[in-house]
């Protein structure tokens, strides 16, 4: 019995020694009294002349790629409309075991989802729907705007402010829908949206690119046993470019706005949307040789009295992924990492002024990892509701007076000496 106990104790010791081969070295109690201090010196450097390119870029989002469609009537400052294409209308319905051609329709309507954060109304809002089908270039404002006239009005409804909820159902005129179904080819509906109100008003529709799914519906038969027909958005032109054809399923038209950014300013947001493209020329030793622990891009904001200037505007600083060989700034400003990946967003009111700090250390880390020979060291500032909201923010560019120019504050640590005790 004693021998067995000794054997078990010996075995337990051997097994315990082998099994317990796991280290846990991180002690937390000894410092600082048992940890002789060594100074890690963080140096704070303010660069004033680091900007290789800073400019405002237009053309984004590309027409048809908007995630939201703003329909606004903001007096003299903003008039925005939206167009949806339903290029394939269902012209037959099924009853019993056979198909029948539609000869009458009832309860025609457009159903869409609103982004209620973009709704602005103090008085009842009338949503008007026009037939904007034309053989002309309907993406151009000059071609499309004349189509928003009374004889082309095919639907509409006035909504109380409280009725502007997530889902909006706007009735269409049944006879005009039937005329499209039974008339000459092409049998399609291309509809334009406009809002009117006694006061300034706007709604924001979630476009197909934003996950929305606007539809047209109509009852093809008085027989209640026949289900209503629902038609989804579809674009069949232009036939030679599938990408553009798909993009143009729904798109934004800006009829009137406050115009582009004044000369020396950098603009973000607004309609038509603006982006700011900033390309950096930072000393290599700072990015590649030292450890940058913080980098703040300091921009001086110019107060503006633009539409909704007192509304908060969220700006996404995004790292440019365009190649060094791409000299076109506008195209470069469209090749971006997703927002929030390296740089946090910032939020402020365009009506305010002062210094805005953008923490771009994540961009510097990426540039250090990628090296100097492949990607542009640039970022783009864009609005989170780009192309679908009116507020625009302005910043002084590098052409401004020295005190107002962009600056870059970098906090970095040189090689830490800690190997020798």
């Amino acid at each position: 019995m004693r021998n067995r106990l000794w054997a078990m104790a010996l075995l337990a010791g051997v097994v315990g020694s082998i099994v317990a081969c796991r280290e846990d070295l991180n002690g937390t109690a000894g410092c600082p009294s048992l940890c002789p201090e060594q100074n890690v010196v963080a140096r704070d450097t303010l660069l004033e002349t680091f900007m290789a390119v800073d400019t405002t870029v237009f053309g984004y989002p590309v027409i048809g790629t908007e995630g939201r469609l703003l329909v606004a009537a903001r007096g003299d400052t903003l008039d925005a409309r939206a167009v949806m294409r339903f290029d394939s209308l269902t012209q037959n319905f099924t009853r019993g075991s056979g198909d029948s051609v539609i000869y009458t329709v009832d309860s025609s309507r457009v159903l869409m989802t609103l982004d209620t954060t973009g709704t602005k109304a103090t008085q009842p809002v009338t949503v008007e729907i026009y037939d904007v089908d034309t053989t002309a270039a309907d993406t151009a404002v000059t071609s499309a705007l004349p189509l928003f006239r009374p004889d082309r009005l095919i639907g509409g409804k006035t909504f109380a402010v409280a009725e502007l909820k997530d889902t909006l159902r706007v009735p269409l005129q049944n006879d005009k829908v039937l005329a499209k179904l039974t008339g000459p080819a092409p049998r399609r509906l291309r509809i334009g949206f406009r809002v009117t109100s006694a006061a300034s008003a706007q709604i924001r529709i979630i476009a197909r690119e934003g996950g929305g799914s606007p539809t047209i519906g109509y009852d093809p038969s008085p027989d209640t046993a026949v289900k209503a027909i629902v038609v989804n958005e579809l674009s069949l032109t232009p036939t030679d470019n599938p990408t553009v054809k798909a993009d143009l399923t729904d798109y934004q038209l800006v009829v009137r706005s406050q115009g582009p950014t004044p000369g020396n300013f950098l603009g973000v947001g607004g309609l038509p949307a603006q982006r700011t493209y900033l390309r950096f020329n930072i000393p290599t030793r700072l990015i590649d040789s030292a450890t940058v622990v913080r980098a703040q891009l300091l921009l001086t904001q110019v107060p503006t009295s633009s539409v909704d200037a007192s509304d908060s505007l969220t700006i996404y600083p995004q790292v440019v992924r365009a190649s060094l060989t791409l000299a076109d700034v506008v195209r470069s400003a469209g090749i971006l990492n997703p927002p929030g990946l390296e740089i946090d967003s910032l939020r402020f009111r365009p009506s305010e002024s002062g210094e805005r700090a953008i923490e771009i250390v994540g961009a510097l880390r990426e540039w250090k990892a990628v090296g100097t020979t492949t990607l542009q060291r640039a970022i783009v500032l864009r609005s989170s509701t780009e192309g679908a909201s009116a507020p625009v923010a302005f910043f002084y560019s590098s052409k401004a007076a020295p005190a107002q120019r962009p600056r870059l504050r970098i906090t970095y640590v040189n090689k830490v000496e800690f190997g020798v005790p």
Partner: protein, 380 residues
Amino acid sequence: MRQTAVTRYAIGCAMVLVASRASAQGTLGAQGFGYPPGQLSVYSRSLGGASAETDALTPINPAALMLLRRGGLYLQSEQETRSTDVAGSSGSTRSYRFPLFVAAVPVTARGIVALSFSTLLDRTWGTETRDKQLFGSDSIGFTERFRSEGALNDVRVAGAWAVRENITVGLGIHLFPGENRLTIAREFDDSLSFAPLRDSANVNYSGTGVSGGVMWRPIRTVTVGASGRVGGSLKLRESDSVRTSADAPSRYGIGVRYDVPGTTVAFRADRTLWSRMGGLGSSRATPQDTWDFGLGLDALGPRLGGSQLALRAGARRRTLPFLAGNESVRETAFTFGTGAPFGAGRAQLDLFVERAARSAGNVDAKERSWTFGLGLTVRP
């Protein structure tokens, strides 16, 4: 649009001094270049180091190698769980090491040569601390993890010769290679605005030394061993460049063993001149010479399946070479061990468990550790 090159810096060069723990051991035992395990075999450790001068597996006295007449291989592992209490807060660490390996081959009936690898200074530790750093007016919290791994080792080639039946002498040549791999990682709480600070450093050592020893048995029951080592140069390299140099530590010691059938009592005193390493590190890592005293008992225990178990106990008192808070670190350890042959006497398994306590004068810190060791000897 404008294109310019960088032409000047407008620099407000604010030097933000941050208390970090660059030499941050966070323990009493592993200050400076590290903790000296003692180069003791499991057998000697079981006896509080008292038998080191007369133990063939402990690479202290080369003359003792003659006790390993048939030659053999020996491997030792240790696990230490260390808890440190400092000013009311406590923390614990666990480390694992292989501090000793010996291979010995007899050359004649009266001679033997051996190669051993042992840890001279174990610089393995880690700390995790919370602190804040000021960036202008912003105070940002961070977690800093500091880690060091590696050791300064002693590689000895030694030979022993039996001059007479009761006198053996030995000579050893020592190389002191080593490497410390250190990493620091400071992670800020706001990881989007502040990038982590990560850095690493490798430190390499190379040095030489020679040792000699004698073992004398004046009467059947008493064995006396004495040995010394003279350290040669010891260089510290960083990035392949010699950064500092000093002398490897020298040592001398004497031990006495009293054997009666079934029982052994031993005592040892050892002096290591660590101060010869002065200048290898910064002023914060100035080593001091140390004493090491051990007293131990080895007695017959119960039989286990035909094998005779040994029961061992020892006490040890020593100082450690590197100061903590400008105070000497003292270590007191009590050990219990056992061992038994197996495989028809061709192998031996030895175990020990040690409870050690460390303190440093007026420094408000106490450290306690449990160390468990296992040694395996295989003989041809």
